[in-house]
Symmetry: C2
Subunit: 237 residues, 2 copies
């Protein structure tokens, strides 16, 4: 095992791989995922198109890498925005997260579309994507725990015992990495907040709030973000 040279080779390989992803990201941001072309990437790098296949099994693999990077960048943006107000009350932190997600999505519409838009029909997300994909969700989970600690009285659950049991079973997967003291109903409300946040952002990024619907989407978002947290009962009053 020629360790020295082996590592050098591997590092060179990784460097070219990174360069490919960098160029591809630029193209993605410019023309969007459907128009992303391996040949164009190769052209920009001054290589033959076939050379790319020394670094990628196929185009899907490149897409997967870009998906992971996009998830990570969005997660990073949300985490940084939250960290900046981490000592403030949870309502402020919730608002910061919402606005960070919206800001990043509007600034990177093609990357956002790649991860939260229509999935590519044949494509199945590899396991590597689930970690980065849940960064924002984990941020919200942490927020719920802190809200409890800040005196939030958890909302009351479903009226009947039966639906409560069914609900409990349904949210079992997401409960798995959540502290036990968070009651079921609060988990549900958290999932709903998560759903609403990305529903609202997707609507705006994908153009469903433009055609004679809203005049000032930013103002509306600001209002709805505050309101939804209060109505869902996930913030101390």
């Amino acid at each position: 095992m020629p360790n020295r040279a082996r590592l050098a080779r591997e590092r060179a390989h990784a460097e070219v791989s990174a360069e490919i992803r960098r160029v591809a990201r630029d193209q993605l941001a410019e023309v969007g995922a459907p128009a992303l072309s391996l040949r164009a990437v190769a052209r920009e790098m001054g290589m033959a198109p076939s050379a790319l296949f020394r670094y990628l099994p196929n185009k899907d693999a490149l897409l997967t890498a870009l998906i992971i990077e996009s998830y990570d960048e969005l997660g990073e943006a949300a985490e940084q925005a939250e960290a900046a107000v981490h000592t403030e009350p949870v309502t402020a932190r919730w608002s910061a997260i919402c606005h960070a997600v919206r800001r990043w999505a509007l600034d990177h519409p093609h990357e956002y579309a790649l991860v939260y838009g229509s999935p590519v029909p044949g494509y199945v997300a590899p396991q590597d994507t689930v970690g980065p994909a849940t960064r924002v969700a984990r941020l919200l989970s942490a927020l719920l725990g802190d809200a409890l600690r800040e005196g939030l009285e958890p909302p009351t659950g479903p009226p009947t015992e039966e639906t409560a049991a069914r609900l409990h079973a349904t949210i079992a997967p997401v409960r798995a990495d959540l502290p036990d003291e968070v009651p079921d109903e609060l988990v549900v409300r958290g999932l709903m907040a998560w759903t609403y946040l990305f529903g609202a952002v997707s609507f705006e990024v994908f153009g469903h709030r433009t055609f004679g619907v809203l005049d000032d989407p930013a103002a509306f978002f600001d209002y709805e973000a505050g309101l939804v947290a209060r109505l869902l009962g996930i913030m101390p009053t």
Copy 2:
């Protein structure tokens, strides 16, 4: 103007156009929008690919037609579901609409992705699409009016006069085709219900509720649909 033959010609033309859309819809349902191929459509119809251009200016036009048809089919499904329970209380009608939208979306994932997924980067939706696009929203608007008539006391608006004014300005477009007696805050809640409905459905159809998030998305949807209407205060208690 040779009326007789003229009309026959036009009818034949319209018939072939319809056949093209039919075949294209089948392909869309099978392989999804990105993989939809004009050549494949032509093959299935036994025509040369170039012949299609007698009926379409380009592929985008075909996509537009499919978008309109999809909007219309979804709107139709929602309207029929609502009509079936139209005499029941508004909560039942809201629930029927939610489930109809979800059902249709899960049954027609590619069509749903076409209209509520990532927009095609270069593509701009023609004016013809806005009518069909708002069918579900109009259904919800009508529901809000009926809820008021059924004794719903509208939720209280924002605390400060200033945000109330800004909100009023923002929702001006959607107010345009809404009766005046619907208060601003109820309009906002309606928009939020609309946002949540499609946010939840998109999350499920696009696979964000599968990977270790929920065990039984149907049960969760049923619960959240009822809860969101109650929390938003758009249904009489």
